[in-house]
Every structure is written in structure tokens, then in C-alpha cells.
Symmetry: D4
Subunit: 153 residues, 8 copies
């Protein structure tokens, strides 16, 4: 069997260390996976438009400009990915995570959700279109180990 | 010019009368538009799985079954629509509305968001991929009147 | 809301009356649904090739010719359908039903499986890509009633 | 002419050594082909869900979880492949093999079936959508040698 | 079952009465089928460009202009069709018929070829991608009767 | 042959009567064609955003809002059309006409350009992807008459 | 600018040295291009089915089997190519070349035709959908040199 | 995170040094980006057809031949790109830049426009479908630095 590198996009929450935990676990497991993600520096992400394309005083349009620049990155990387992990944390509304999940679903691209049970009911549509729901980053590592190499923990 | 009926899917919040206000306004304006929507009876929607495919005690799987049945309706109607209106209200997290927006975006299908300014920052990615953001159902009617017949209020 | 006619393709087993039961139930419920199906006359279906395109003595090629003609019907109707019901009975191997399910899945077209619990393990991949699994034709009618009109039994 | 590596997905039966025989034959022939496959460790495959995403007592949902995780692998590798070989053996019902064939067919992806003549009639739809039907792994090697290098045995 | 009208495009040879024979046979059989075709008036077809878009003396560009105008018709009708019949006669090279077959094949659209056995070897690639090969217009009618209504002659 | 209504989108210049001349000519010829177009009331088109979605003082964002609303109409109608006519007049830069042509080309949708010879060199890429270039609305009518009914003037 | 390798599929006639002349010219010009083609050993190509998948006495089915195996190669390489050259020689009917052109056209894949002027009228539809028509392999090399490096002879 | 090379197509104006400035800025920033572009040698571009495929006296057809050859390059590189920058300068009408933008938009491919404010109104449709509008090549570099590495200037 060939040694394929799996491309995994880590969507959603940017306020906890879940991405690092997945990447560390995958590194320890020695899996051939390459990760990508949105820009996770919150301040930079908010200024992605006005920090590159010029000043704008109106908050709505500042956000609009920033979201346009960020979408170049996120939609390109999602289209490139074999698989997404979509994380919902307990802060903020994280509508962009759900948007990314819907975007992936329409492209026929598989994704795993990662969230606590308290959000199960609110996320039922998003979870239904997923290939599985994980509770911890370690479970995501377990999924990747199995998907890539067929080994269970 | 031909009299085309525009197909409009009304996604998102099911706890206020925004759909009725849009349909009433479009009716008064005499516009050739046909509306569709998810099932908006909250109790029925939650029981869509166990009420049709048989009992299930575990809440996660109850939701899973229900979301599967609901998705038959929602994804079919979204694929059929010319245009979506995606409403975010002030209650609940409404991740399914953002999911629908992402789904539409990936299909290249236009949508209008409908929400208060307080959510602008949180919805910036969803708004960016939209063709416009309305604050009231009446503004949505104005958009439809213009899109369909070219008349401004 | 507009009165949309839902197009439902009934795939799979041709040796029991499940199609008639679904159509009867939908008729009683007064639902706007139009059904399509493969040719269910087993003898005619087996002769679809040699009965139209000329004689062929070799069984493999007889089947090949027949399957070609049948595929004109089945693949066209599947592409046209909003939704499929895929039935697995207790006789024969019914690989064509699983083929139709895979075909629908790749097109992003929703389907419901209909089979007894004894096949659950063998059909797990086919069920996983479905929007739900029914045990009886009456449950399929219940799903259609909900999907089309939002009413539970 | 350029030295292209052909990507071949080996779908279906996991209880005989047909994959090894194809890979060995291709190795002896020195053909530039890379193989991929579902996880062929039956026990691991059955536990793909509960072994990664957490316990589940109900058999239907255990299978559902496992099939979701397995589908990440199988559908990704099928989309990546240039060609599939779909094997039907004499044990089990192997509906997943037929599902994979239908999935490939809808994507316009070529495949070869591999099975004994006793299944010809039952597999006629699956064979018809294939580019050919082989009886032995060695014939598959012959097809690959020809397709890749134009040499007949 | 619903009364669906099947849309059939009749591609290829324009020098014999095969289209009329198919349409007559389908009319006698009372089948719900609607036919479309390229413009079959050879002289008009050759002048489709210069007769509409203005004079052009150079034969290559005259043909180029005409083929552009004809392609508006043919490619639109092929995209609309459920099924094509592609006829190869004994005169001219009829490369456009083979072009239409390739165009349909890439779109995943089914077609039947119609030609004498003397062309079997030369047309083997075109026939292989077809759902069947007929020798007479009457056989095409038989195929349509079966596909639409399941009746054999 | 069936009486198909052809759907024609008239893109581009909104300052001369070319649309009326095409529609009049098609009416006189009795052709089954239905026309659609962008909103051609220049003032309304410029206010499409602020006239529906609320005030905006900055000209760039006024245009941005207006273009978003207009695109709901134009991109939907272009996707619906069988054929486009793309008109370039002698005033303004008409980049939106070229944008529509590129949009149609990427969708595989045929179009005819309509412009004077003075623009031939500047429009060579746009003309190359077209099925033909007309100089007058009457020539467009001639093309439609031929495409729909096979009759030359 | 990056050094991109262009992938070029050489379709059509297999009885003259046009492929070698194009590859030699491209080699002399030092262009980064990789070529692919159908199997050009006529005898092997005719036996592609029976030489790999087992004996078959009936000529029609021999061809059918062979064409199936050949299509694995040709359709995969066409989908992979950036550009096709489609050659029509003066022998045989070469319907497969026209089929490949139609297949490429429907995929939105550019191609150049290569043939003598005597076939211009018969090939007008095939030429119209091409990006250009060359008369000699050397002209094809000139096109590739320009397309890849912007240099004219 | 993996070191992905971003592929950027630089469309539009060929009479100023904006491409060089973007490439220089990206080089200084050390970003992993590979650029592609149309042939920017104006004289060669105009002769792309007659310089490769043979003489042609009529200006319209000279342009037609040239545009066909150029489109092989431009449409292939646009399909390959992750992102486009579309530049509108103050000379010529640059309809091909707008055509490329529309082509990219229909493919769901992100682009940034680059032009002075004086064209804002005329380019409003093209800007609306873009992910952002830059005024200087340096702003484009800033966007790329952010998109690729998340750093703001």
C-alpha cells in the first residue's frame, strides 16, 4: 500500500489548544497527515481586511473586508482537504464553524465534529451530516490513526 | 419578458413570524414567488426521526434520526431554490442556519441574511458570502420586489 | 407554501408488494408525490436486451445487453428523483439495490433504506450513507408525510 | 511518454488473498501502480467507531459509527483513484462492494469487477457499468499491464 | 407511477428516414416521448453561419461560423435530453455523430447507437460507451417502449 | 418534434433599444423564445442596494450593496438560460457584460456577442469563447430563428 | 514564473509518425511538457480485451471487451490532461478521435485538431469546439512553445 | 502546519509593472507562492494564432485564431490557480480581465481586483464577486502574506 499524506483541515474554535493536541497526538503516532487551519490569531484575523486593503471606519464593512480576505484562505484549504475536523467550543457563537461544515457537506467532503455533549441537540443537523462526533482531540487522533493506518488504540 | 416564478427558501429561526411577514409582503406586492422552508413546528421537527422510523431512547441518536429525516426536506428544497433568506434570531445558537448558508455558498446559490446588527461581528463570514444583509422582513420583500420586477419601494 | 410534487424512486427488491403499500399509503394520505421505479416484471427485465436489440446466445452477454437497456431507465429516473427508497428483501443478493444506493450517494441524492434488522450489519455502509432506515413500508409513508407536510402519524 | 503512477483502489471482499496476488503480480511486472484499499482487518473494521469515538451498546449504532469512520477512508480513496477493482467473493453479501461500484459509476470513475461466473446474473447491473469483468487476480494484473504499458501477456 | 415524458435526442446521419421511422413507431406505440434533433436540412445547416451572421468567403471560416450556430442548438438539446440515439449511416464520415456521443458520455448521459454491423469494428469505442447498439429504427422503438413502459414487443 | 421554449438572456448595454428590437423580431417570427435580462432602469439598478437594504453614504459600499442585489437576479437568470446574447455598445466600459460572458463560458453555456467591428480587437477573447458574433439585433433574430426552427431568412 | 509541466494527450490516428514528430520538436525546444496517448500498437489494442480478460469468439463482443479496457486508459489520461491534440489522418474513419474530442469538449478541456484541409468541411463541428486547427505536427509544436513559454517561431 | 505553495494567477493589464511588483514583494516576504499569467508580450500575444497555425489576412479571424491559442494558456492556468489577482489599468478596455473574473467566479475560484478608485462604479459587479479590492500591488502582497502566513504588515 502506498504512503499517502492525508490533508486535514481544522475548522472552528480558536480559543483553546485543541489543534495543538491533535497535531501532537498525530506526531507521536507518526501518521502521514498534513494539517491546515484558518488564521488562529484572533486580532490579526479581525484586521485581515483593514490591515491589508486599507482603512475603513464602519464596523460592518471592516468585518466584511476581513471576512473576504479570510475566505480566500479558508475556502481554498477546505477544497484542498481530504477531511475536516469542525470544533465547537463553549464560547462565542461560532457560526463560521457551522458554515464551514455546511460548505464541506455540499462539496461531499467528509468531516468529524468535535464538541461537548451539551451542544448535541443544537448541533444535530451539523452532526448528522458528519462522519462522526468526537468529544476530545485524542478521539480525533484515534480516528485519524484508524483511517490512515487501520490501527485502533 | 417572461413571467418567471422565483423559488425562495426561508432558512433559520423558527420562533418568530418573519416568514409570515415576508410572505404577506410578497403577496401584497403581487410578486411571482414560491416559498419553501424547513418544518417550523418545533415539536414535530424534534420528533421527525422517532415519530416515523421507530423508538430510540438515547437523546444523541434521537436527534440523529430526526436530523436525517429533516435533511431530506431541507437539502432538497435548498437545491431547488433560486435564492435563500437565512434568518438568525436572538434565541438559541441556530447553527443549522449557518450550516444551510455554507451549504448554499458551496453550491453557488445566492442568499440574503436577515439579522440584527448585534450579530454582525459573529456572522461576518456568513454575511460575506451572502449577496446582502437585511435587518427586517420588509427589506427582504423590497429585495425580492427589485430582483423580480426591478421596482424600488 | 407552494404545492411541490416530490419525486420518489423506489429501488431494489421486486418480489414483494412493498411498492404498492407505499403508494397506497401515500395515496390515502393525499401527499403530492410521484413514484418511479425500475421495471418490476422480472421476466421482461431479464429479456430487456435480447427482446429489443436482437438475439444473443451467451448468458453473460444476454445479461450485459439487458442491463444496458435497464440502466437507461434506472439511471435517468434516479437522477430525476428528489429521494430514493432502497429496499433489500430476504431473497437474492440484490447487489443492484446497493449499486443504486452508491450511485445516489455519489450524486448527493438522499435515500432511505428499507430492510429487516437481520441485514443491519451487512448493510451498515449502505445504511450509514442513508438519511434513515425504515423497517416497514408504513414507516416510509410516515417519513414522506413528514418530509412533505410536516405531519407526524 | 511520461512515467505516470496509476492509483488503483481495491474494493470488496476482505477474506481471501486477492489483493496480495494483484499487488505481487504488479510488482513482478514492474508497473508504476499504487494501491489503496479499505481497512481489511475485519475485527478492527467492525470496531472502527466504538474503538475511536467512544462506547455504544446498541448494535445498529455501533455499526453506524463504524461505517461513518470507515467511509472517511473509503470515499476519500475512491475519489483519489484512477481505477477500481471491485471483488465479489462467495461469502457474505458484500453489499458494500456493490455500493462502492455505484459510487464510482456516478463519479464517472472506471472499474473492473472480479468474480466467478456463478454471480454473473446477480451482478449484471454492476458488471454492465464496469469496463470489464475478470475471473482471476492474474487477469486484473494483465489488464493493468496493458492499460499502463500496452503490453499483453 | 407517474406519466413522465422522455426527452430523446436523435443525433447523426441526416440523409435517410431513420428519424421519421422512430417517431412513427413511437407514435403508434403511444409512448410519452418528445424528440429533438439537429437541423436536418443539409443546405440550411451548411449556411447556418453565413445565412445569419453575414457573408464570409473563406470556406474554413464559413464552416466555422455555421458550426458555431449549429452548436447552440445541438449542445443545448443534448444537455436537455434524457437519452440520445446516435446514428451512423453509410455515407460521409459523420464525425459529428461520434463527437456528440463523446460529449454525451462525458456528461454521463445514456445513448444508443444505431448502425450496420459493417461499422462495428470502427465504432467499437463509441459502442462501448453506449447502453446498447441497435441495427434498425424499429429496435430503437422497442428499446424506448421497454424503457418507458416495460413492455417487450 | 416538440415545441420547446428557448430561454434567452440578454446581457450588457442598457442604453439603446437592442433588446426591444430582438424581442420584436422574435415576436414577428413567432418563435417560442422567452427573454430575460438584468434590470435595465439605470437609476433603479444603481440604487438596488440602498433602495432595499438601507442607507449607505460611502460610494464604494453603495455600489457593493447594489451589485450584490443585482447579482441575485443576473446570476440566477444566466444559470437558467439556454443561450445568452452579450451586447457591447459604444458608451461606458461595460465590464459587467464581459464578466457575464466569462461566467457563461465557465458554465459551458453558449452565447452570441453583439457589437460593432470597431471593438473586434478589444473583444477578441470574449468573441472567441462565443458561438458567433452579430453586428445587428436583426442578425440575432436570424440566429434564433435558425437555432429554434432551422429556417434561414 | 513557475516551471509548470504541461500535460498533453495525443488522441487519434495511430498509423503515422505525428506523435513522434511532436515529441521530438518539443524536446528540441526544451519545453516542459509530458505526453500521453492511447496504446498505439494496433494489434495489441485490438486484443486488449481477449488478451487480458479471456477468450471471446464473437467479433462484436471481442471489440466490446477491448474497447472497455482501452477506455480505462484513454478516459483517465484525457481527464488528466491540460490539453489534447486530436489527429485525423486519411485512413480509416477514426470515429474514436471525434469521440475523444466530444468527450474533452464536454469536460471544458481545450484541444487542437490536426488534419489536412480536405477534411475541413466534414470536421467542422469538431474544429469549431477546438481552440485551433493545425495542419502539421510542427505547427502543434509552435502552439505548445507559445502556450508554455510565449515564444513564437 | 504544512508548507503549501499557493498558486496565484495574475490576470489583466499588460502595460505596467504591477506583476513584477507583486512578485518582488512576495519574494522579499519569502512567501511560498507560484505565479502564472497570460503571455504579457503584447506583440507576441496578438500573433499567437497566425504565428503558429498559419497565415490569415482577415483581422477578425487573425484575432480569433490568436484568442483561441491564448485561451489554452489562460483557461488552463486559471483552473489551476488557488487565487487570481485581476488588474484593470487606465488604458484600453480590458474586457478580457473582466471575462477572466467572470470565468473565475463561475468556477467558485476566489479573486482580488486591483484598480484605482476612478473605476469603482464601472467595476462594481466585478468587485462584488471578488474577495476584496486592492489599490496597489503592495496591498496585494499584504493580502498574500496574510492569507498564506497570517501576518499583517
Amino acid at each position: 500500500m502506498s504512503a499517502r499524506t492525508w490533508s486535514v483541515y481544522l475548522a472552528g474554535e480558536i480559543h483553546s489548544d485543541w489543534r495543538e493536541r491533535i497535531e501532537a497526538g498525530v506526531g507521536e503516532a507518526g501518521l502521514p497527515a498534513a494539517f491546515s487551519a484558518p488564521i488562529t490569531d484572533h486580532a490579526a484575523s479581525d484586521d485581515a481586511g483593514v490591515g491589508t486593503l486599507g482603512e475603513e471606519g464602519e464596523p460592518f464593512w471592516r468585518d466584511h473586508m476581513g471576512a473576504g480576505v479570510n475566505a480566500i484562505r479558508t475556502q481554498t484549504l477546505i477544497r484542498d482537504a481530504d477531511l475536516l475536523v469542525v470544533r465547537f467550543g463553549d464560547k462565542y457563537r461560532q457560526w463560521n464553524a457551522a458554515f464551514d461544515a455546511g460548505f464541506a457537506a455540499a462539496l461531499g467532503k467528509p468531516y468529524i465534529t468535535l464538541h461537548d455533549a451539551e451542544f448535541d441537540h443544537a448541533l444535530k443537523e451539523v452532526d448528522r451530516a458528519a462522519q462522526g462526533t468526537a468529544r476530545t482531540p485524542e478521539q480525533v487522533v484515534d480516528v485519524l490513526r484508524y483511517v490512515i493506518e487501520g490501527r485502533l488504540p
